[in-house]
């Protein structure tokens, strides 16, 4: 490609950002990736670690001033990977730097990876992938349309609101003139529509943008629109109107001819500010957080104070608090709620999605979570292109709103480990791909734009890919019966419950990984059970072949085990990228055998010098190697050949494809 000046630079050092360790290797620049390949170390014949960085993941490249050892190049990624290269010759460094600058700022959608990414699927498979999520079916699942709510085609051609989807649901009594009138009174034409229907109480969660009320303006259609929403719910005489902004911001908006609903003009509404800060505050907050945790040799005080002053966890708490308020209003009081912020695509999306997640166990399953994102984020026009900086756009529009949502969900999974079908890795994987631009789902700012780009025809769907890897994202603690007993989650929002999400922000910092993980231990256990089960089946078949009917305590006649199960016991899982410790005991034992002469465990091997030990150090050599193998499989074509059970980490590693 014309932008690549130097496709390969040798003798590049990769420096760990928390310790003084470094590795040497070669840097390759391709049309889609920046690849670092560690030079084969002396003790192993195979090549070492590989790091693949997708250009779209790169948030910034910084060339630092020349030092005696070379020219440092610091790359910050949107998935919170930070890599620090030292290139020997300044000219090479500059070439890479300027090539990257061009490559990571695509101007046209067509330059995005999704348009060139080809996972070797035929058109039919791709089409099926896109059909996986069907929002019409989702509304049917909620029980809509029904006697109070109906489908409207008023936005069929994106005429009424160009950032809304075509298919919308409104109260039966909201006629077309009311809708159109209301939309004229709402910022960007985003009039109140249904996003979630709580069947048990017939209460609705609706969303919109702020009214153009200014200091005194009124709109009768808008008032009757709210009235219609209220009328559609016989359980409650009033509806809540949640303005998710801080009151001050809403007041300021009044001066610009926007603002919030006046309780005097709207009959039977209860108006409530929630106080979630805007996208600029969130962007700055995350920036501060990253600065704090990126500091080397951080003290406990600096860490805690820095964490607090970044405000990040406070903002997370604010979003969860808002969702809890919404949930209580709907499930306990049975009242309908209308949620808005300024434009109704950031905070509104967060609160509606999180509220639905608390109310409906379906959204806590893997498929359901995809539906939720598709509904509240993608279809209702969260501006992914702007917020995630997909094209070279306005930096003031960039903000980690969606990341924040994922983190809220993560904090909930920590409080309710049994309630979610997916584990943390699912959230991380989604986050990875929101920024990777590898799949079409998150491209563009709204449905209309996506149709213009013909994404369904020209790109692949992430959901199909994630679904095919479903087993990697399962939470071993998930208990469907828990959700039956607790359909509505009531999280505690004590500040104590909001903890720094280590695996998100330190996902790529090996030295920060825990030594043992409950998640992994349990996964191993489950896998063992599965193995035992398949062995059981194999044995039963064998007995049958021998002409004996096994004692019938077991489940229905097992299907003949596949060749896979019988001949290949599951391949040993590679060491974890994130979880650190060995995944199963076979490995532990193997290692113990290797280390028989002294009983130092794998944790100990790396800790020969005091300083590193004290700060907690990074992975051992053997671990690094398998990590390298992992990332080595980084081309999509191989996906098909993976064994039946793939490790979680493989998924994570391949994210950069």
């Amino acid at each position: 490609m014309e932008h690549i000046r130097t496709p390969k630079v040798e003798q590049v050092r990769l420096v760990d950002r928390f310790s003084n360790k470094s590795t040497n290797g070669t840097l390759y620049l391709t049309a889609t990736h920046l690849i670092f390949v560690e030079s084969g170390s002396n003790n192993t014949a195979s090549a070492g670690q590989e790091i693949w960085i997708l250009h779209h993941h790169i948030a910034s490249v910084e060339k630092q001033s020349l030092t005696t050892s070379g020219c440092p190049l610091v790359i910050q990624c949107r998935n919170f990977r930070v890599v620090h290269f030292v290139v020997q010759r300044e000219r090479d460094c500059h070439d890479i730097y300027s090539s990257l600058l061009r490559l990571l700022r695509p101007v046209h959608y067509e330059e995005l990876y999704a348009f060139s990414y080809n996972p070797k699927q035929n058109d039919q498979q791709r089409e099926e992938g896109w059909q996986l999520i069907d929002l019409g079916a989702e509304f049917e699942r909620m029980g809509v349309p029904n006697d109070q709510w109906q489908h409207t085609d008023v936005n069929r051609d994106y005429k009424v609101c160009e950032t809304y989807p075509r298919d919308l649901y409104v109260p039966i009594t909201a006629s077309k003139p009311i809708i159109v009138g209301s939309s004229k009174f709402r910022s960007k034409g985003r009039f109140p529509v249904l996003t979630y229907f709580y069947q048990e109480k017939k209460a609705a969660v609706c969303r919109c943008s702020q009214p153009l009320s200014g200091f005194s303006a009124r709109c009768l259609e808008d008032e009757s629109m709210l009235q219609a929403i209220s009328k559609a719910n016989h359980n409650s005489r009033f509806i809540y109107v949640m303005d998710t902004r801080p009151k001050l911001n809403a007041l300021a908006n009044r001066a610009a001819g926007k603002g919030y609903e006046n309780e005097d003009n709207y009959s039977n509404i209860r108006f409530q500010f929630v106080g979630i800060e805007n996208i600029h505050v969130m962007r700055a907050s995350l920036q501060k957080l990253l600065e704090v945790i990126g500091t080397r040799s951080l003290t406990m005080s600096d860490y805690l104070v820095g964490l607090e002053s970044s405000g990040w966890l406070r903002h997370i708490k604010a979003v969860v608090d808002a969702a809890v308020f919404l949930t209580k209003a709907v499930t306990l009081e049975g009242a309908s709620v209308l949620v808005h912020c300024s434009d109704g695509w950031d905070r509104t999306a967060q609160v509606c999605a999180l509220g639905s997640l608390l109310m409906d166990p379906y959204y806590r399953t893997i498929k359901g979570f995809m539906v939720l994102i598709e509904k509240d984020w993608i279809s209702f026009g969260h501006k992914f292109a702007d917020r995630c900086d997909q094209l070279n756009g306005d930096p003031k529009e960039v903000s980690p709103i969606f990341t924040q949502f994922l983190e809220c969900v993560y904090q909930l999974t920590e409080q309710f480990p049994q309630a979610f079908e997916y584990s943390e890795w699912f959230l991380l994987q989604i986050h990875e791909h929101v920024h990777s631009c590898q799949y079409g789902n998150f491209l563009g700012n709204n449905q209309r734009q996506r149709e213009e780009l013909q994404l369904r025809e020209r790109t692949h769907s992430l959901w199909a890919y994630l679904m095919s890897e479903k087993q990697n994202y399962l939470n071993p603690f998930y208990k469907p019966s828990y959700s039956e007993a607790h359909p509505v989650l009531e999280p505690s929002t004590l500040p104590y419950h909001f903890k720094f999400w280590r695996n998100m922000y330190h996902q790529f910092d090996r030295s920060m990984h825990p030594r043992q993980s409950i998640l992994k231990t349990t996964l191993t256990l489950k896998e063992n059970s599965r193995e035992a089960e398949s062995t059981l089946r194999a044995l039963e078949t064998r007995l049958q072949q021998l002409g004996v009917t096994p004692i019938a305590t077991s489940d229905p006649p097992a299907p003949p085990p596949t060749r896979d199960q019988r001949t290949n016991p599951l391949p040993p899982r590679p060491d974890s990228l994130i979880l650190g410790a060995p995944i199963n005991h076979k490995e532990v034992q193997r290692r113990e055998e290797e280390d028989e002469q002294d009983e130092v465990g794998e944790e100990a091997m790396e800790s020969t010098d005091t300083e590193r030990t004290v700060e907690g150090s990074s992975g051992s050599e053997s671990r690094k190697q398998s990590y390298g193998e992992l990332e080595g499989t980084c081309n999509g074509e191989l996906a098909k050949e993976e064994p039946a059970v793939v490790s979680l980490e493989l998924g994570v590693a391949r994210m950069t494809c």
Binding site: I293, L298, T299, M300, S301, L304, V305, L307, E308, L313, P417, Q418, F477, A485, L494, P495, Y496, H497, K499, F500, R502, S511, M512, P514, R515, Q516, I518, T521, T522, N528, S529, E531, A532, T535, L536, A538, L539, R542, L546, V548, P550, I551, T553, S554, R566, T567, N584, H585, K586, V588, D598, E599, V600, G601, E603, T610, T613, V614, E615, G616
Partner: protein, 646 residues
């Protein structure tokens, strides 16, 4: 008097564990459920919401049933009393100001072991069951404007402050029940006996047999060619705060030990705590040398440390870890103490670990208490937490222990650990590094041995640090050193969830009985005192109770990592406040859901599958032996990984 504390009731305990709760209203359900079926040795008073909940998920799905049951039980007026527990006083119409649910009126009963409050205001009844040993002080809250009511605050050692009030007693001769309470809460100050001496429960296990120094040293391979067991302290003549059994280098005669003792604070000479099974590197502990301002030296002490170094052929160095900040160590010279100068001790390297003294720790934990009880402020949580410096102290202690473990394991070098007297920070450091180094101590029994050895026998002054039955709550000798150690252990279990045989409930139970004075284990300051008071004869050991129901305290995730050395990441990103202990009284502090339980289920399922596989396996082998034998290969192979696992 009701003799209820039978072993049978212990067995039924798991079923009466409270469910974890989602809202305030159901909290009281579980509370009353818990105490209505009062289980004798349970010390967790009924306010406890979070600690044990995670181990009993079966109850959470049927709160209604338990509520009913509790209600029925609550018709009974009194809790079930322990053996030899007698009611001392009762008072009606008392108000308890619960910080979480508001004021409640009810009855208070004081026995020689507990305070029991019960209110019928709520349905089901609300109960509060507090062992008197937990009481730190009772203060009358003056209220000049209101002469009708008298208010009392019961400040507890386990983070709580309970507030009660009742009508002014008309009869001036009659004492308030809280004055009665004070008498029994501080038996030592009032010339009474601590309840542990009266509690006569018999358990199937005898916890006093858990630790036998000779067999523990034998487990480590001692005596050997370099180390011997000495009886020089048999009658506590050498050092009255040390145990009678000590391990010293072979080539130092008992006579020299006495001279070394003269040079070490309180006569606490360096003795062996642990020896590496392969490298022979050792962890030894002692008190500070009496160097003083003049830089006194002791030939015997220098020779002694040389002997410790020589006992390890792998290394020609010796590391001396002084737990204190160097400033404090230097300041100790004024009082005759100090630290080893590197001139006097050839080949020794002195390292200061910067851990602060008992007063700093006491203050730090007090701030934690202010922070988390009764309610946590919504704003500034993290900076408030920072200002307590508690996690910073935890980090320093863990980092120190890690350095010690690393020197011994990776450096194959012997280490000497001391602080000032060698019974606080030294105990923390040696026991933590031993936990990292030796998988035996990570089992339940091993951990009990560790506590008996490093803390109890080596004279951590539990009586002074905790102040059992002593009303002098401002005593400067009190300090949460042991709690801090348990906190550090908890931090380790967080990082290595599969490496410890015991669970969080085990740690919490130990801390609860540290205060309860139900068991004799944590009474007195030293082995000598314990023998003099005949503690093992006259009281029950907490290990009797724990070892009689190990199931409750077992971590289902545990796999035997006994040959592994644990090197934790002491990064601040991995340390957190132990909410399961410090914040457990807050009903909003919801417990982690029972993932342990889920893990247990999976284990059971696997065991069952395994059994079935084995059965079929046998069947297949039998059959195929008679018919064609060569094809049986493949299924067998796929079993192996499962088998190695169990």
């Amino acid at each position: 008097m009701e003799k209820s504390g039978s072993v049978d009731s212990l067995g039924s305990k798991p079923s009466s564990r409270q469910p974890s709760v989602d809202s305030l209203s159901s909290t009281s359900t579980s509370r009353s459920d818990r105490s209505a079926q009062a289980k004798p040795p349970s010390v967790l008073s009924s306010d406890s919401v979070s600690t044990s909940a995670e181990f009993s998920p079966e109850l959470r799905v049927k709160p209604k049933a338990t509520a009913k049951k509790a209600h029925r039980d609550s018709d009974k007026e009194e809790p079930q009393l322990l053996p030899n527990e007698t009611v001392q006083d009762m008072a009606y119409d008392i108000t308890y100001f619960c910080p979480f649910t508001g004021a409640l009126r009810g009855t208070v009963m004081v026995t020689n072991y507990r305070l029991f409050f019960k209110s019928m205001d709520k349905d089901p009844a609300f109960m509060l069951d507090l062992p008197l040993g937990v009481v730190s002080r009772v203060e009358k809250i003056g209220n000049a404007s209101n002469r009708v009511d008298s208010s009392y605050g019961v400040v507890c050692k386990d983070m709580r402050i309970l507030r009660f009030s009742h009508k002014q007693v008309d009869d001036t001769l009659k004492k308030s029940i809280f004055e009665v309470l004070m008498k029994f809460a501080f038996p030592v100050s009032n010339g009474l006996q601590i309840f542990a001496f009266e509690y006569g429960q018999v358990f199937p296990e005898n916890g006093w047999k858990v630790y036998d120094p000779i067999s523990e040293y034998k487990r480590q391979g001692i005596p050997n060619e370099s180390w011997r067991i000495t009886k020089v302290n048999d009658h506590f003549e050498l050092c009255d705060t040390y145990p009678s059994t000590l391990v010293v280098p072979v080539n130092i005669p008992d006579e020299d030990l006495k001279r070394v003792a003269a040079f070490r604070a309180k006569g606490r000479i360096p003795v062996l705590s642990w020896i590496h099974p392969e490298s022979q590197a050792t962890v030894t502990r002692c008190s500070q040398p009496m160097v003083g301002v003049n830089g006194k030296r002791s030939k015997e002490d220098e020779k002694y440390l040389q002997a410790i170094m020589d006992a390890n052929a792998q290394s020609h160095k010796l590391f001396i870890f002084d737990a204190r900040p160097s400033v404090n160590a230097a300041a100790n010279k004024m009082k005759g103490g100090g630290y080893e100068s590197e001139d006097a001790y050839q080949n020794a390297e002195l390292v200061f670990l910067d851990i602060h003294n008992i007063h700093v720790m006491r203050e730090s934990l007090r701030k934690i208490k202010d922070l988390v009880y009764p309610n946590i402020e919504d704003s500034h949580w993290l900076s408030n937490l920072e200002s307590t410096h508690w996690l910073e102290h935890i980090k320093l202690i863990l980092a120190g222990a890690l350095r010690i473990a690393d020197k011994v394991e990776s450096g194959k070098t012997s280490v000497v650990v001391h602080c000032s007297d060698g019974w606080d920070r030294t105990a923390q450091l040696t026991s933590l590094s031993l936990l990292m180094l030796d998988g035996y101590y990570r089992t339940i029994r091993g951990f009990e041995v560790l506590l008996e050895k490093e803390w109890l026998s080596f004279g951590h002054r539990f009586q002074l640090r905790i102040g059992h039955g002593d009303k002098n709550h401002n005593d400067a000798d009190r300090s949460p050193v042991f709690i801090q150690f348990i906190d550090c252990v908890w931090q380790l279990t967080r990082q290595f969830p599969a490496a410890f045989e015991f669970n969080e409930y085990f740690l919490v139970t130990i801390l609860d009985h540290l205060y309860s004075c139900l068991f004799g284990t944590f009474l007195c300051n030293s082995e000598q005192q314990r023998l003099k008071e005949e503690i093992p004869k006259r009281t029950v050991s907490v290990w009797s109770y724990i070892n009689s129901q190990l199931e409750e305290f077992t971590n289902p995730m545990y796999v035997n990592y006994s040959n592994q050395v644990l090197f934790p990441v002491v990064s601040l990103r991995h340390l957190e406040l132990w909410s399961g202990y410090y914040i457990r009284w807050n009903p909003r502090m919801k417990p982690q859901e029972p993932i342990h339980q889920r893990h247990k289920e999976l284990l059971a399922k696997r065991a069952e599958l395994q059994k079935r596989v084995n059965e079929l396996q046998r069947e297949v082998t039998n059959r195929s032996a008679s018919s064609s034998s060569e094809r049986a290969g493949s299924p067998t192979r796929s079993i192996t990984p499962v088998q190695t696992f169990v």
